[in-house]
Symmetry: D2
Subunit: 340 residues, 4 copies
Amino acid sequence: MAVRVGVIGAGWIGQDHIRRLTETVTGAQVTAVTDIDAARAGEAAARVGARVPADGGELIAADDVDAVLVTSWGPTHAEHVLNAIAAGKPVFCEKPLATTAEDCLKIVEAEMAHGRRLVQVGFMRRYDTGYRQLKQVIDSGRIGEPLIVHCAHRNPTVPQSYTSDMAALDTAVHEIDVLRWLLDDEIISTQVITPRATSKRFEHLKDPQIMLFETAKGVRIDLEVFVNCQYGYDIQCETVGEEGLVRLPDPAAVGVRTAARHSTEVLTDWVGRFRDAFDTEFREWITALTAGDEPTGPSAWDGYAATVVSNATVAARQSGRVIGTDMKPRPGFYATRGLV
Amino acid sequence: MAVRVGVIGAGWIGQDHIRRLTETVTGAQVTAVTDIDAARAGEAAARVGARVPADGGELIAADDVDAVLVTSWGPTHAEHVLNAIAAGKPVFCEKPLATTAEDCLKIVEAEMAHGRRLVQVGFMRRYDTGYRQLKQVIDSGRIGEPLIVHCAHRNPTVPQSYTSDMAALDTAVHEIDVLRWLLDDEIISTQVITPRATSKRFEHLKDPQIMLFETAKGVRIDLEVFVNCQYGYDIQCETVGEEGLVRLPDPAAVGVRTAARHSTEVLTDWVGRFRDAFDTEFREWITALTAGDEPTGPSAWDGYAATVVSNATVAARQSGRVIGTDMKPRPGFYATRGLV
Amino acid sequence: MAVRVGVIGAGWIGQDHIRRLTETVTGAQVTAVTDIDAARAGEAAARVGARVPADGGELIAADDVDAVLVTSWGPTHAEHVLNAIAAGKPVFCEKPLATTAEDCLKIVEAEMAHGRRLVQVGFMRRYDTGYRQLKQVIDSGRIGEPLIVHCAHRNPTVPQSYTSDMAALDTAVHEIDVLRWLLDDEIISTQVITPRATSKRFEHLKDPQIMLFETAKGVRIDLEVFVNCQYGYDIQCETVGEEGLVRLPDPAAVGVRTAARHSTEVLTDWVGRFRDAFDTEFREWITALTAGDEPTGPSAWDGYAATVVSNATVAARQSGRVIGTDMKPRPGFYATRGLV
Amino acid sequence: MAVRVGVIGAGWIGQDHIRRLTETVTGAQVTAVTDIDAARAGEAAARVGARVPADGGELIAADDVDAVLVTSWGPTHAEHVLNAIAAGKPVFCEKPLATTAEDCLKIVEAEMAHGRRLVQVGFMRRYDTGYRQLKQVIDSGRIGEPLIVHCAHRNPTVPQSYTSDMAALDTAVHEIDVLRWLLDDEIISTQVITPRATSKRFEHLKDPQIMLFETAKGVRIDLEVFVNCQYGYDIQCETVGEEGLVRLPDPAAVGVRTAARHSTEVLTDWVGRFRDAFDTEFREWITALTAGDEPTGPSAWDGYAATVVSNATVAARQSGRVIGTDMKPRPGFYATRGLV
């Protein structure tokens, strides 16, 4: 029988996941949709023959909802996730798990009290083929112990509503999660350097930013976040170890030679870059649920760590200082969970 | 409602497609499986809760079979496909459509008499992202009119049962189909050159072979078929036009620097190379059937052309001569069909 | 003391070599220059303080000429080279050594009678870093015995004076020499296939052409010669062996990402592509002469072989047939000479 | 007439330059050699038929010395360069120009008093083809105003005598010079981050180090210096601008496919990486001198700036602080000098 999923939040990303669960991933069925905008929920639900419960609480409690997908506005995440845990139902929450460390810890505690993982956080890069190869090489020991990671996260442009804080909270947060996972290590301090700003930005925005992270094992990470780079959507990651290095590939693209140039296309949005990763993320989630297993993806603890580090990075930029992340020790409960 | 598929042939590829239709592609359900080996059919059917009709004929006629998938031994394809057409049911036939030009033409005529496309042939390369980009660039006119295509089709090794004829019939046939589609052109002659044979082959086998094709528009194609190349599974395709060229990319893979080398992995089997293409192939087939549309993939005519050219290539190698393919003119019925 | 060089032929290539021997290569001095156009010889000589003997014969005989460089019109090469041998002076002859196999053999015989190598032919690709790496890999056995070579020789455009025969005689002749050297093998047959011609050529010209060579050991070579490819000057060479392959690199060039493209420059002329090879060629030649050694570069025998194969390739295209090169057996004298 | 060069310092690099001026660069002749080790000077001199003056002072004053090459121990550079200026002779000084900012300024002042450039400092990267292409792209405006530069400078190993300070003084100093030139900008602050050290180093050494530079225009530079990276000698430089980026190419190398890997060689020493740059550096220097022109390469001012920034970088590492370079304003004399 298909896993019956209730979706809280029918905005762009919610609709995309509803489509994914319906058309691309086998073994799932979207049975309920809610949104703060009831009309939007109604339309999204109608397209897949789902019901429209009155609100998230009702959706979570519903008998025809086996698992919950939270894609609503960030500040509402904690409440829905806590409700799902209370109901003993698996819940997939788009990042952030919660906007504050305190709320993330409440979720962590609730889940530990429940005694079994229910929560998965939507960091899809762990499902990208390139990142998985990267991790495989690092874990194999071929490059020796990791010492340095160089990253870049570039978008062609962002709208006026994008703020300097979002560079950490919405953009770098993907690297923060994937680097913790790649290195199996924790970020203990963060710092932000602001180069001369590009003229091709809205006035209020610090862009580009260079973020510097330090891990518990002493690995140093530099991450260029440049969200108005104009030329494309470009994700780079190079891990330097004691005996070699490994670098994320560019997406495969045909090579064209014309007019004295050899050229390949650079993608211009993240949808194309991570489409397969999103598909794999949900496919593995549904597979685990179908088998009655705990989810294997990013855990509530990973959600907590990402929120702590990205919030600290905002503080680092605002203060111009190196900021310690002051993270709690990881409970044994999460020691072997969320390692996919 | 899911499209109910009956599968004739439960060998390796049949089982893989049953898994694909069950686990990977939404909107399909395998309801019936037959095989010349009844036990094998029974096991494959049991895994997905399908029935085991007595034979292909019974399967095709069954009420719970909306569409037929033929993955049995090549020489049996024509009979099953003709039966499916007679039953008015869509049929997906793994290559070859039939082993002789005559049988292919019977299928073509039966389908035209039916008045609507029912047949799709399993040439999955048209669904590969790289080939689709290649076609997009060619069709865009960026490289001008195509003049030459250089191809290579390399496998690490083949078993003793692989014969010199199979280099054309089983291996080059993929290029034969995809090149006709890429160039929107017909192959009119074929020739085979046999370099010194590799010592790493079974004695009876001519390996490598270089096949030379000529198209109706005068494009010349050279195709290296080397099925014991040892180092990997490697597919190359470069189209040279009047103003530039376009080249198939290698699959994306992390770059590793260790011990004075920068290296990337080369795949070693076609399963990894074309997995996504197979998925897309079946996804698009099921999508068309669900919508009540004709299939959009390789047509019966494409199946005929591939059989004619690959058979002529066998004759060319055996005779040492340039062989004209002597292909029939394409009926108007197929003029705009099978162009995906 | 510097090697005193007399230059016969002060056209474009002659002038370039005079500049090279004067400004780039140490240990050489151009002391005499002649040309059928006396004014041109005078200007070239004046720039470097050289004399202008009445003709090639006088130049070769002159006391202030230690070594001769022949860069005159091809049909005059044989006479000058034979004169130099008669005078016992080292002679560097731009390709072709002679335009007929007969004249080449006269030179070979004269040199053998002299008992010591005097002649070097100007095939500069053997001095290209990429080709040298290619040979090193082949000779190392890393890819096993060579079986197939795929080559392309592309120029952006050629002037109206360029004829269909020149595709073999002037263009492919570089590959003919470098492949014999790379493979340490002899070409025994040649064939030409003519794809649909590009519209971007002068009407009289067959362009592109595909040349197919067979070696004594059974290696098969396909060479695309395309002299109006528009997009650049592009030299490709891939050697496929029993256990792997090795491919000539593209010249290093900065990668640029702008406007959704990653691009690198493609060269547009052979001067930039092979400048370093020319320099090394003359540097090694002067070094050998300074040390009193025989020249180590392409020998008179290599010049003979190149003329035989390129002439046979012209015949192959004109006749549409496979043409055997019917080459003489290589004399022991040349067995270990010209192997750099 | 050849430029007669006197060489002060006959160690490894001195001997290499003597060979270069004798065998590779035309128009120069080494006429005198001195060294603190007289025997070593004698041997080096004998190989090229040069004299051995008693010391640097005598060499600089000698009538048969037109130009001076200083390749002695760093702390002696200032004295020799000042002497050469006093004698009005062109002087090429290997880096550093002087070990202190004060001494560098003395040289700058002496040269300005002389009224004409005499000094060139041996930063050879400005002569590397890749860096020159990089500068060409930046200067062309294709990537817009530069904002960030990512660099790496990796050596396979260093001997025990290599100290943590040398990472800035001997290694990073090359990037410090070439970045000032690439960006036409001045470095105003420097900071060093020390990741976990590699286990493959001598105990006393901080390795790797990440250096962070800020320029007057606000460009931010991160430079990984990793001198025990094991895998090769690897120089990376990527400049990110407002509209795109440009990246230094890896040296061209044949691609080899064997055993499921595509690989290219990574160099293991700087000699191979920058041989051509050294040749070009000296060729252009001799060309300028021959023409009676001022040298066009890195100036005394560039030598001053490099010393200031590299010394500040040592202080930054030792203190753990961001250190301002506190550089003097560039005199008008140097405004348009040293821009090659």
